[in-house]
Amino acid sequence: MGRLANRQLEVKDLRTYFFLRNSVLKAVDEVCINIGEKEIVGIVGESGSGKTVTALSILRLVPFPGRIVTGEVIYKGRNLLEVEEIEMRKIRGKQISMVFQDPMTFLNPVMKVGDQIAESIMIHQGIEKKEAREQAMRLLESVLIPSPEIIVDYYPHQLSGGMKQRILIAIAISCGPSLIIADEPTTALDVTVQMQILSMLKDIKNRLSTSILLVTHDLGIVAGVCDRAYVMYAGKVAETGRVLDLYEDPLHPYTRGLLRSTLSIDEFKEELETIEGYVPSLISPPTGCRFNPRCPCSIEICRKEEPKLLSKKGKGVACWLYR
C-alpha cells in the first residue's frame, strides 16, 4: 500500500450511507485512502462504485439524504469530520479545492468569469477587488486561456466546454491549495480537449506542488495521469497500488476483469471479453465479497465473509484468493 513519508490526507474507515424512506443505501463502506504530497491519486470505478461520494465526503459535501456515519478524514493533523462548519468553509476552496465534471453546476451563469475567480481570491485571501482582478487575469493566463484581458469579462455561456473547465481549474488553484479533488473533470469534453486539460493537471501538480485526487471511470486516464490508484467496486476498495503495478499485475478478479474488458485502440480483440452480470444494488448488496456473484474465481468463503483489504506484493487487495 505504498509507504508515504508525507501524508497530505488520510481517509480512515469512511462510511457514507444514504438514508432512504425504507432502506439504507451503503454508498461508501469502510473506505481507506491516503494521498501523499505532490501525488496524483486516482479513484477509478464504474457507476455506483462510490467514487464520487468518497470525494464529496472528504469535503463534507454529501447531499441529503446522505450522511457520513463513521470515519476520519485527517488533514494537517485534524479530523475534518469534526471541525466546525465555519472552519470547514475556510478549508474548502482555499486548502482543498474541487473541480467538477459539469462546469455549469459550479459556475454562476450571470456573473463574469473574471469576477468569479476574483471572488474566491477576495474571500479567502482578503485581497482588494482591483488586485484580485489582476490576479484573476494572471490565473487565466496560467490555465492557457487565449487573450485573458478579453475573456475576463465574458459570461460562462460565451465560452466552450473546454474553456469553462479551464476557468474552474483557475478558481481551484486561485488560493494555492495543497489538494485538488477533480471529479471526472474531462468526461464531458472531446478527446483532443481532454488531453489538453489532463496535461494541465499534471503541470499544476509539478508547478504548484499540489496533490490531486482524480475521480474517473476511465482506466486510460488513470494510466496516463496518476501515480497511484484505488479501484472501487460497490462502495468498497477492491484493490490499490502504484499504477504500474496495478495494470501489469492486477490481483483482484474485478481489476483483472475491468482491465480485460476495457477496449483499447492499440489492439484488436476478435473475442470481446466481458464481466458478466451487473453492478449490484447497494441497498441489499451481496453477502460476503460484493463482487462474488460476478466473480469467475469465487469460492465458498467469498459468499459468506467479507474480505478485508490487506497488503500483498506492495499492493492492497481485498480478496479471499490472497489469504
Partner: protein
C-alpha cells in the same frame, strides 16, 4: 463481401440550418452541419462515423435513414433514390432502417412496459398480428438480446432496469422487424466499461445472425476498433479521411485523425504517462463560420499557406483509403504508431 454491393449510398449530402440571431431575430446565419459528404455502406458491414462534437456525424446518420430532411444531395438505397420512392416503397424502406439511440432513458417511454415498447414496431409495420403471435415475437426478441428469463422483463417499466438492460431493450426494438441497416448513435457511450463490452458483443452476434449492416456513430476510437470494418472520420461537417479499420489505426494520414488517435487514452501506463501532452491546440470551431480552406488548418501543426486558401479534396492515396489533406497528398505526413512510447514533438 461482394465488391460494389452497396446497401446505402449518400451523394453530395448537405444539411444547413438557419439560425436567427440579433435583437429582433432578423439576422439569419447558416450553420453547415453537414457540408458535402459522399459515403457508401456495404451490405453486412459495420461502418463507423467518428468525430468530436459538432462534426455532423449524428446529422449525417439521421439524413441517411431519412429521419431528417436533406438540404442537398441524394440517398440511394440499393441504387434507388429514396426521395423518388412511392409512399409504399418508402414505408417498406423505413421498416428496414432502424436506429439505436445513445440515451435509453430518453428513447424508451417511461410510461410504457417493455411489452408495449416492443409491440409498437409490429403494430406499425406488421399490422394484423394476433395477440399470442405478438407475445411470442416479443418473448423471442427478449431472448435474442439476452434479457432472460423474458417473463421477468416483459411487464417491467424502463426505470426498473439497469442502463445495460435498457440498452438491450433499445436494441431489441431496433432489430424487431429484421432490419437491413441499423444506425447506432453512440449506443455504448453512457454505459460502464464492463457492460459496454457486453453490448458490443451482443451487437456483433446479432449482425452475424441477422445479417445486419451497422452505421456506427461514435466519438470513441476504442469502440471503433472493436466493432468496425470501415471508418470515416468527420471534422466540421466533412469527411476528412476514410478507410478500412486497419488503415485507420495503422496508417492514418490526416493530421486530425492522427491527433484523435494520440488523444485517445489507452490503459497502459508505460505508454500513456508520456503521451499526456496536448496533441492539438484549440477546440472545434463553430460550423456557422468555419475556417477557410481546410477546416482543420488553424489547429494543424502541418498547415501550409495553401491550407488556408483551398479546401482539399478527398484523394485515394491507397486502395480504399481516402484523405483530404494537401500535405498528405504530397507524402508530407508519416503514419503514427499508437502502440509505442512516443509523443509528437
Amino acid at each position: 463481401m461482394k465488391a460494389l454491393e452497396y446497401l446505402l449510398e449518400g451523394i453530395g449530402l448537405r444539411k444547413y440550418y438557419a439560425i436567427k440571431r440579433g435583437s429582433l431575430r432578423k439576422r439569419t446565419l447558416i450553420a453547415k452541419a453537414v457540408d458535402g459528404v459522399d459515403l457508401r455502406i456495404r451490405q453486412g458491414e459495420t461502418f463507423a462515423l467518428v468525430g468530436e462534437s459538432g462534426s455532423g456525424k449524428t446529422t449525417l446518420g439521421k439524413m441517411l435513414i431519412s429521419l431528417i430532411e436533406t438540404t442537398e444531395g441524394q440517398v440511394l438505397y440499393k441504387g434507388k433514390n429514396i426521395f423518388e420512392m412511392t409512399k409504399e416503397e418508402r414505408g417498406k424502406f423505413r421498416s428496414k432502417m432502424q436506429i439505436i439511440f445513445q440515451d435509453p432513458d430518453a428513447s424508451l417511454n417511461p410510461k410504457h412496459t417493455i411489452r408495449k415498447i416492443l409491440s409498437l414496431p409490429f403494430q406499425i409495420h406488421a399490422g394484423d398480428l394476433k395477440k399470442h403471435e405478438l407475445e411470442e415475437k416479443i418473448i423471442g426478441l427478449l431472448g435474442k438480446v439476452g434479457l432472460e428469463p423474458p417473463q421477468q422483463f416483459i411487464n417491467s417499466y424502463p426505470h426498473e432496469l439497469s442502463g445495460g438492460q435498457k440498452q438491450r431493450v433499445g436494441i431489441a426494438r431496433a432489430v424487431a422487424l429484421n432490419p437491413e441497416l441499423v444506425v447506432a448513435d453512440e449506443p455504448v457511450s453512457s454505459l460502464d466499461v464492463s457492460v459496454r463490452a457486453q453490448i458490443l458483443k451482443l451487437m456483433k452476434n446479432l449482425q452475424q445472425e441477422m445479417n445486419i449492416t451497422y452505421l456506427f456513430i461514435t466519438h470513441d476510437l476504442a469502440v471503433v476498433r472493436a466493432i468496425a470494418h470501415n471508418v470515416a472520420t468527420m471534422y466540421l461537417g466533412k469527411i476528412v479521411e476514410s478507410g478500412t479499420v486497419r488503415q485507420t489505426f495503422e496508417s492514418a494520414l490526416h493530421p486530425y485523425t492522427q491527433s484523435l488517435l494520440l488523444s485517445t487514452p489507452i490503459p497502459r501506463p508505460a505508454i500513456m504517462q508520456k503521451r499526456v501532452v496536448p496533441q492539438v491546440t484549440g477546440e472545434v470551431p463553430s460550423p456557422i463560420n468555419p475556417p477557410s480552406g481546410c477546416r482543420f488548418h488553424p489547429r494543424c501543426r502541418y498547415a501550409q499557406d495553401i491550407c488556408s486558401k483551398l479546401d482539399p479534396d478527398l484523394l485515394e492515396l491507397e486502395r480504399d483509403h481516402v484523405v483530404a489533406c494537401h500535405v498528405a497528398a504530397h507524402g508530407g505526413i508519416k503514419p503514427v504508431d499508437i502502440s509505442v512510447q512516443t509523443s509528437v514533438e
